[in-house]
Structures are given as structure tokens and as C-alpha cells.
């Protein structure tokens, strides 16, 4: 069983994983940042980093969780490192003019989501926006199910207390 898995992984080309999961990585990064250009940078950086450890990936089934974890970690690390989070949180998600949709009132919700502390934002994006189960969210964030419930609860409470969201 183990040998078969290892064999199947060896036959999995990195390019195939890139094609299969690239859009998902980009989507999560976009939800986490509200900035498409930054999201593309984050998603690509996640794949570059995964490449470094690709030979250590023993379970292809875990690749998705590992990728999403890397994307969310890179996003949070980016904001933290560059101190952009504070500046960023003062403005709403900045959609480019060529973006084909008008998020309308959801702009306010997205803005409030981006103002949340990093781990609350990560939990809400993965669980609600990206439709992962609580257990899947816990696996991606490498925390307990109880911790996910706590982060989600605190995040929702904070959103509800945000004036823009309740409008």
C-alpha cells in the first residue's frame, strides 16, 4: 500500500499538480488579500516553495492541504513582514477596474474580513468562502478542531460588531 502510494507520487509530475491546484491556490490567496496581483505572487511563491520539498511529499492526498497551508502562511507572513496589514486594513478590498464583477455591498464584508486578525481571517476564508469543512480547515491550519471552532466563532463575532458589515 505504502509502496503503491510512493510510486503514484513519483509518477505525479509537479507540472500536473500546478495545473490541478493552481486556480485553487490563487482563489484562496485572492480571498485572503483582496489584491489579484499580490494573490498571483503568493500562489506562485507557494508552488516554488513546495517544489523545494516536493521530494519529501509522501502522501499525494495531503498535497492540497499542504499547498493551502503554504498559501495562507505566505499571505499572513507577507502582511506581517512588510507591515502592510495595518495600512491595508484601513481601506476596502481594492478591485481593479477591469474586474468583471461588482461585489456591491460585499465590498464592506470583504473589507471587514481583511481587517480580522490573521488566523481568524484564515479560518473564515477556508471554512466559509472556500467551503472547507471544519476538519479540513483544521488540517490546513494544523490546529485542533476546537481551535478552528473558536477562531470561526471569534471571527464571526468580530464581523458582526463591524459597522460596515451590519449595514
Amino acid at each position: 500500500m505504502l509502496g503503491r502510494r510512493a510510486g503514484s507520487l513519483r509518477s505525479t509530475r509537479f507540472e500536473d499538480l500546478y495545473a490541478a491546484h493552481g486556480a485553487e491556490a490563487l482563489r484562496v490567496a485572492y480571498l485572503m488579500t483582496g489584491d489579484k496581483a499580490l494573490a498571483e505572487d503568493v500562489a506562485q511563491e507557494a508552488f516554488v516553495r513546495l517544489l523545494k520539498g516536493f521530494h519529501n511529499v509522501r502522501n499525494p492526498d495531503a498535497f492540497r492541504a499542504y499547498l493551502l497551508r503554504t498559501v495562507t502562511n505566505l499571505t499572513n507572513s507577507h502582511f506581517r513582514k512588510s507591515k502592510r496589514e495595518r495600512d491595508f486594513s484601513r481601506r476596502e478590498p481594492k478591485l481593479r477596474s477591469e474586474d468583471p464583477i461588482d461585489l456591491g455591498s460585499r465590498d464592506m464584508l470583504w473589507g471587514a474580513l481583511l481587517r480580522l486578525p490573521a488566523r481568524q481571517r484564515t479560518a473564515l476564508v477556508l471554512h466559509y468562502c472556500h467551503d472547507l469543512s471544519e476538519q479540513q480547515t483544521a488540517d490546513v491550519m494544523q490546529i485542533s478542531l476546537k481551535a478552528v471552532k473558536s477562531l470561526v466563532g471569534r471571527g464571526l463575532a468580530k464581523l458582526r460588531s463591524d459597522e460596515g458589515v451590519t449595514v
Binding site: L51, K81, D99
Partner: protein, 228 residues
């Protein structure tokens, strides 16, 4: 308020429908991936060289962190005097791993604590780029204190603090305390040789921080500085 949860789901749906959401590798990313492949091969050589010549210090010129264009783990901000991390707590002794065990597997070292609880204390700050602080580990046969000399952020919510034992049986050797800011926080303790603070952290990073043995912190709390 169910409505808020539905609105969050709807936000995700709308982003999904937004076209195009296809990740197309830029020439920059493709170049990094190609270089990454070369570096990965180099890293294998570096590991072998390090093991043959007795430590990572001798093979540093070949390590991923030195050669790769990929960003190394983030270093804390270099301005002002700021606390990096502080706190105390108890953790299972199996959170301790040393270089020998890390690279050769278990059973190669007989002076590590095998079980029991360790009491860990740490306080670290930086001032003008200088990282300083102190820490101690007591319990499970260990009674050690150390001076903090370097640090770096690791994968988002974690920080690695490196230092040198200045008291106890391991005086002069390296130690790294890796703290994951989770619920509860988790710790991994690395016992190094005498490679130096930064070289030790490079050595751990070469094999991946995730391969350390993390244990949840009991009855304690570690506060990390998050605003980089």
C-alpha cells in the same frame, strides 16, 4: 446570524465565478522553479558534505538558504528595540531533538531526555538588528540556561530563537527554541553542536522546520511579536 455565514459563502462563490482565475506561471516564477530544481540537487550534495565533514558550517556555501533565489525565512524587523518573544510553559520532553537524531534517526543519542515535563522560559528582544535575550530549560534531567543570539520567522505563525548554552552540561553548544503560535502554542527544542547561531538555524531549515518534533505547551503561554 445565519445571514452573515451565507454572505461569506456568497463572497467565495462570486470570487470563484470571477474570470479569469487561472494561475499562469510568469517567466519569473518559471525561472525560480527551474533554479529550485538545481538548488534541490545541490541541497542533497550539501547534506552529504555536511555529514561527511562533520557539521553544516563546513558546507554552508552549498545550502539552500545561501544559494537559492527563493526568500529565506523572514528575519524580524531590524529597527528599534522590540520584544520578539517571551513566556514560559511546560512541554513534554519529547519536544527535544538534536542534530544527530534529526539527520540519522532515533537511537543515535543517549543523553537526551526521554520523557517527563520540561519547564521552559524564554525572553528575547532586538535592538538595532542585535537579537538578545535569555532562556532556560529545567526538568527531565536537564538543568540548562542559554543566551539568545539570533532569530527568524518560520512559515507564518512560528518563530525560531537560537542561542548558546552558557550554563550546564552543554555549555558552548547551540540550542534553538521554535515556537508555534497555535491554540495551544507548540514548541520544538533543537540541540545543536557548535556551529554558531545562524548556521544552526540554516541547518534546521535545510531539512524543513516541519520535521521537528513539536509538542503542545501545557500550563503556560508564549507571546510572539506578530507585527514584523
Amino acid at each position: 446570524m445565519q445571514d452573515l455565514e451565507n454572505r461569506l459563502k456568497s463572497l467565495g462563490d462570486r470570487v470563484s465565478q470571477q474570470a479569469p482565475m487561472e494561475l499562469r506561471p510568469t517567466p519569473h516564477a518559471l525561472r525560480k522553479i527551474r533554479v529550485g530544481r538545481i538548488i534541490r540537487s545541490g541541497a542533497v550534495l550539501a547534506t552529504a558534505a555536511a555529514l561527511v565533514f562533520g557539521g553544516f558550517a563546513g558546507a554552508r556555501s552549498l545550502t539552500i538558504d545561501d544559494a537559492a533565489p527563493v526568500q529565506p525565512a523572514d528575519s524580524p524587523s531590524r529597527t528599534g528595540s522590540t520584544s520578539i518573544a517571551e513566556g514560559s510553559g511546560e512541554v513534554r520532553a519529547r519536544a527535544v531533538m538534536d542534530a544527530c537524531e534529526f539527520f540519522f534517526g532515533s537511537g543515535c543519542s543517549d543523553d537526551l531526555p526521554s520523557d517527563g515535563l520540561l519547564s521552559v522560559q524564554i525572553s528575547a528582544s532586538q535592538d538595532g538588528g542585535e537579537v538578545s535575550g535569555s532562556g532556560s530549560i529545567h526538568g527531565a534531567g536537564l538543568d540548562e540556561s542559554f543566551t539568545v543570539g539570533c532569530s527568524r520567522y518560520v512559515d507564518g505563525d512560528s518563530i525560531a530563537l537560537g542561542g548558546t548554552f552558557d550554563e550546564g552540561d552543554r555549555t558552548g553548544k547551540d540550542i534553538a527554541l521554535v515556537i508555534q503560535d497555535l491554540d495551544p502554542d507548540s514548541l520544538a527544542i533543537w540541540f545543536g553542536k557548535e556551529d554558531g547561531c545562524e548556521s544552526m538555524l540554516d541547518g534546521i531549515g535545510l531539512r524543513s522546520w516541519e520535521n521537528l518534533t513539536y509538542q503542545p505547551v501545557r500550563s503556560g503561554n508564549f507571546t510572539l511579536r506578530h507585527d514584523g
